[in-house]
Amino acid sequence: MGGELMLVKPKVYEVRPVATVPPPTAVLDNLPFQEIWCCDFEFNGADGEIPTPVCMVAIEARSGRTIRLWRNELVALTSPPFETGPDALFVAYFASAEIGCFLALGWEPPVLVLDLFTEFRAETNGLSVAHGNGLLGALAYFGLPMMGGDEKTTMRNLILGGGPWSRDEQGAILDYCQEDVDALLRLFPVLVGRLATLASDKYVRLGQALLRGRFMTAVARMEYVGVPIDIGVLERLGTNWDSIKLALISEVNIDYGVFDDQTFKANRFDNWLARNGIPWPRLPTGRLALDDDTFRQMARAFPEVAPLRELRHALGTLRLNKLQVGADGRNRCLLSPFSAKTGRNQPSSAKFIFGPSRWLRGLIKPRKGYGIAYLDFGSQEIAIAAALSGDPAMIDAYISGDPYLSFAVQAGLAPAHATKETHKAVRNRCKAIVLGVGYGMGAESMAYRAGLLIAEARELLRRHRETYRVFWCWADNNVNIALAGGELRTVYGWPLRCGAGIQPNPRSLLNFPMQANGAEMLRLAACMATEAGLRVCAPIHDALLLEAPLKRLDEDVARTKDIMVAASEMVLKSLQCRVDAEIVRYPDRYQDEAGVEMWNRVMNILESTEAQARDQQ
């Protein structure tokens, strides 16, 4: 016998050809638009600044009519050089960037936007995508021809260099821009064909795609406005951050003794925990779990841990230089719409002021003559769970205004006359369970989060199941649908694919309808508010940050509230979500309640550090 056969697994790139791609012309003929313009801009601009368009290429998909314009030609125009009204479809990849260029040029955004990025995300949400969610990744996914990644990087660097560009370079940049538009023309029939040829849906899916495109315009508008930042304090923090860090460590360490110089010592922390009788989660290796999630949960259960958690968090995550702030004092960054599986935005926590360091939000300050308002949906997840499941007891609990106490009463844990004041402890326990269910948590996580015994959390969870049977029947059914290989969809069609080869987490599946429909609600609110001319600075999970001149602030807050309530009704139908507003007027600054103590501590250190520096001069 000769040598043994060796089975070598060839390197395979996942390129999934689409089985039933209608021919492009058939797709185009079927679409109810008189013109279809695929468009791409090249632009540059420093972090935090409004983009500066460099050039634009647009091609009409049916006629092939092509428009190539360099920046001097673009700025000379007062409106787009092609049809963008209700008869025309505007197609782009990550359209908020293109529409950001429209806004920078003073052009009115297109009425109908179809974003192939959002549609690629929708097509693959929940599946693994080998080459990422960029344009090249989408082309690779469908087995469509594409340009090399190296070439793209070279050209991008040339553009970001900011010029001046020679005549040849201008031509090369325009050609490069056109290559992306050509790629759009290849990708468009594949993605749109799948939306528009589903006869049973009667264009509903195409309409839902346009609704997502509408939100990309809202994103462009919000990114354009940005969040007002106190750049004076930001600069002072940046200059003194190293000294502040050292002072913070020595100040907090007095109570804990866990730092050696700037290094956190696990064995010292272990001793501190033993001295204080705090049971701390451990890894399978027996070592203490020191990740931020554990610290956050334990800080809730044992408040004495909270200052240490805040400090570790601040030291570990705060990179002030990454916060993207423009010369005009506005925090602008990519809001990363549709990045999360739930469809929620997922901006970089380092670049976005609403990243996880809550104390840093004290930097948000309205400019002179203006005010800001943080408007959020009250108990959004509970409202969604109640309305979409149709659970009458849960609907009653939401309408009561205090769903946590209502649960306590409905489950027989508190008398009917109980109030927030008379039954605070039981309300807090019930709150942990109600919120935990909304986030898809199990009894163990809820117990950690609320400082309950696991058996107690399990019992409360069982009571929740008994009290809200209709909800649990609906929620369990959703999980079963997904686990059986079906697809979960929000009321406006954002999907979660759960096919073969996917190993979904049942808790995430249970949570998906609440989070994903919550995302729909906020998207609708952002669309309507920005289209109404309100200055929305940013979306934050279930909230909008609004800015207005002081004389119009109350009126604009009321208008935004009405819009948010209307958006909630569009999603929930049978219920309206409450909307709470926190208003800040110049010269006050915004503060997150959880970050006030740390902000004050940092400001005190900053002032004494600066005073010392002055004394030394």
């Binding site: 638009f33 209700p86 264009y203 309409g207 609704l211 844990l413 008994e466 059914n477 406006y492």
Partner: protein, 195 residues
């Protein structure tokens, strides 16, 4: 709302400014799932569980059973097989029960003997079963008293949701897999007779 130009004869343009027209209605997924009951255990309620007894006479069955104590197994003995097993069988009333975890089980509650002898364990268990028809109870052996102590839940606990099956279907789920003794050829009968 933004109006779109929908000329007569043309396919209407889906309107993203009218989200109501784009809402997913009805059941978008044809598939779903329901929890199936594949087996029903036969056992006494444990001392740690609150349980309810179905009060509907249709869901109780007076019958003879054989209990293999070491294996903790119960066998339903048909009248035809009674004479073969003699004193090994016990006469019970099978009560359909459910606990707070929605687990369904049959409780074989011993029927009082015709000779009038009293057994405080059986009597207290019977009283507990009666109470459990109306409320959630838990019973715990009390060796000092020689009977079960019965605890009734005082909080507001919802009534249970009983399985939507008939008694014959439930009995079949409890005594499938060879747990019905209807002849002398049954392996358990052979085993008891030293076979």
């Amino acid at each position: 709302m933004t109006e779109l130009n929908n000329a007569p004869g043309m396919t209407p343009t889906p309107n993203p400014y009218d989200p109501d027209s784009l809402r997913v209605t009805g059941d978008v997924n044809a598939i779903g799932a329901e929890k199936l009951i594949l087996r029903i255990p036969v056992r006494k309620p444990t001392k740690q569980e609150f349980y309810r007894v179905n009060s509907d006479p249709k869901f109780r069955l007076s019958c003879a059973i054989l209990e293999l104590k070491e294996e903790r197994e119960f066998y339903l003995v048909t009248p035809a097989a009674l004479s073969i097993l003699g004193e090994d069988v016990r006469y019970v009333e099978l009560l359909l029960c459910i606990n707070r975890q929605s687990a369904v089980f049959f409780w074989p509650l011993t029927i009082p003997t015709a000779d009038g002898r009293r057994n405080s364990w059986n009597e207290s268990a019977r009283e507990a079963a009666k109470i459990a028809e109306q409320g959630w109870v838990r019973m715990v052996s009390n060796m000092a008293e020689g009977s079960y102590s019965v605890y009734q839940a005082t909080g507001k606990i919802p009534d249970p949701e009983w399985p939507k099956k008939s008694m014959p279907e439930l009995i079949e789920l409890a005594f499938k897999d060879g747990k019905l003794i209807d002849s002398e050829d049954h392996p358990v009968v052979i085993q008891l007779h030293g076979g």
